[in-house]
Amino acid sequence: MRLTLAKRAPLPGWIQVLVPVGAILVTLALSAIPILAAGGDIRLSYASLFRGALGTRYNFLETCVKAAPLTFTGLAAAFAFRAKFWNIGGEGQLLAGAIAAAWTGIHIGSLPPAAAISLVCIAGFLAGGAWAAIPAILKTKYKVDDVVTSLLLNYVMWHIMGYLLFGPLQMPGSSWPRSPAIAEAARFPVLLVRSRFHLGIVLAAAAVLIVWFINSKTVFGYRAKAVGVNPRAAAFGGINVNSVILKTALISGGLAGMAGVGEAAAIHFHLLMDISPGFGYSGIAVAMLGRLHPLGTALSAFFFSVILVGAQSMSRITGVPTYIAEVIQGMSLLVMLVALLLTEYRIKAVRN
């Protein structure tokens, strides 16, 4: 006897929605293994994790702060994946956005805040979009695999940032790779007292709605989906596939760029080498867990943020290393992949 996979009949919608929830529960159950290995008490660990992320007003707002870049990079990945543009370059596009935002923010002079902030955002969005356009053009024009090119460009942008921070963008008189501060006017305002809840979070929420609108209410959203399902059929139906992929890349990269804008203009106020702890890569997991749906992506970004923020207090209370957050993140992506498979296939025993 051996086990094989057999296609199953389409499952009802409510099960589809429950898949990520199930995947999260399985991930948390599996994550008990490393927590136990680290000598943490399971109930105490998870309790301190969730209390640390959601227990007080300040912690909850901190979770929102961390969720903003994850929402942007998650949307970036989801938007691209939906059209089967495999943008693994969110990290590089984020950095491009941060660099452009910092550069604009430093040199902006004395504009009124509304204008300064708009300019910084536009610069970051365009830089991210332009960086994502490279793999899109290479894919459409030269048939080069987008996964590899977008991935490699992450490192190219990282080194460009390194060059800038040790060169033209370095703070005068400093030996650290750190840019001068962004002008006050260009910084995202904090919207709630006694917190870091800033404008970027509202922008992230707006981006969720905009992406949802593009996906489900516009002709372009329909075309992008058609290209994602079957590019050949889409082309046959009169859709300019290359143009759809390029536009998808511009928007996807722009969204990732916005994550960088937020980190530069609302959190650090400088450009630094470690401006992103890998938000671009996390975005891939965020998007998959959110089933590439904008609202799902926002929810899953919030979940990942709970884990990231909560892991800090879990670590303080139980001594489990904070890197448990990264373990949970990676594991949830793998579990989600298997869960998605099981919605399409069932495991069947076949007699030889």
């Binding site: 490393p34 680290a38 060059y163």
Partner: protein, 314 residues
């Protein structure tokens, strides 16, 4: 400037090139094995980091460097088997599975390292590999010191290049591997177990990736740092393409990378104000250009990225 045009500078540069290229040669050869059988293993970056970590911790606790190397290889095998389960047996997207493995094992490597050593102010170190001079050859001027006074793992990496080439092109196993990568349906027809071959190639490749990671913590440096791999896995993926899926050409790409990396380090060491970040972009640009120029006669294995399900013959 005259410091640059000396024999000792050249010797040091070539020796450093060999060392910088070594982990990438391990990674590239490992990735070639996997891709030739039809599986893109993007878990490589995380697998190398796990190899670096387990190799280091094993040596730290046992004092044996070779035990560390073995542990790293075993770690690579285990993670690659996980990759095989997802991408081969379950037929999930190779892209996403690989990224997932990298995210997961990156987190796990840092987690286990913290767990094992805590957070001391000075990270623990091991007594790393020492260089072994090959008798006779090492006394040749320049070449002897650069190429034949190296770590054992460097020699192993360079011996593996022809070994993998012979395996792929001159043995019946290699023929099976290439057939599985090019046309799994044909391979199945002649009685080759496609998924088994892919699993074995992933496992063998994973062992090499793990050893490449261990080289970084047991020879190149003597400690584990979180960014010790620092994109060398992705560089290896790039070198596979740059080398057109050929072990010799892939290793040549790794040597170019090693050369540039060594050159920028040495120039910096001499106090030159080189924009070293721009130096390090060159290999990436090289790969991108190679990708574009090759795309017309690309020789990527035709079965790459496609899970094999017999009942879904297209």
């Amino acid at each position: 400037m005259e410091q640059v045009f000396t024999l000792s500078f050249l010797t040091g540069l070539l020796a450093a090139m060999m060392r910088m290229a070594t982990p990438i040669i391990f990674g590239t050869l490992g990735e070639i094995l996997a891709e030739r059988s039809g599986v893109l293993n993007l878990g490589i970056e995380g697998i190398m980091l796990m190899g670096a970590m387990t190799g280091f911790l094993t040596t730290l606790s046992t004092g044996s460097l070779w035990l560390g190397v073995a542990a790293a290889a075993l770690t690579g095998v285990i993670l690659s088997l996980l990759m095989a389960l997802l991408a081969v047996w379950l037929g999930l997207s190779q892209h996403v599975s690989g990224i997932g493995i990298t995210l997961f094992s990156t987190g796990l490597a840092m987690f286990i390292y913290r767990l094992a050593v805590g957070s001391p102010t000075n990270p623990p170190t091991v007594q790393p590999f020492t260089r072994a001079a090959i008798p006779r050859l090492s006394s040749i001027p320049v070449v002897g010191e650069a190429f034949f006074t190296q770590y054992s793992l460097v020699y192993i990496a360079f011996l593996l290049i022809p070994a993998v080439w012979i395996l792929l092109y001159r043995t019946s196993w290699g023929l099976s591997i290439r057939t599985v990568g090019e046309n799994p349906f044909a391979a199945d027809t002649v009685g080759i177990n496609v998924n088994l071959v892919r699993t074995l190639c992933l496992a063998a490749g994973g062992a090499l990736m793990g050893i490449g990671g261990a080289f970084l913590t047991l020879a190149h440096q003597n400690m584990f740092l979180i960014d010790v791999v620092g994109g060398r896995g992705w560089i290896s993926v790039a070198m596979v393409i740059f080398g057109n899926w050929d072990p010799v050409r892939g290793a040549a790409g790794a040597l170019i990378f090693g050369f540039l990396d060594a050159l920028q380090l040495r120039l910096q060491g001499l106090g030159f104000n080189v924009p070293f970040h721009l130096f390090l972009i060159i290999p990436y640009l090289m790969t991108l250009i190679a990708l574009v120029t090759m795309s017309r006669n690309a020789s990527a294995p035709a079965g790459l990225l496609k899970p094999y399900r017999r009942e879904e013959k297209g």
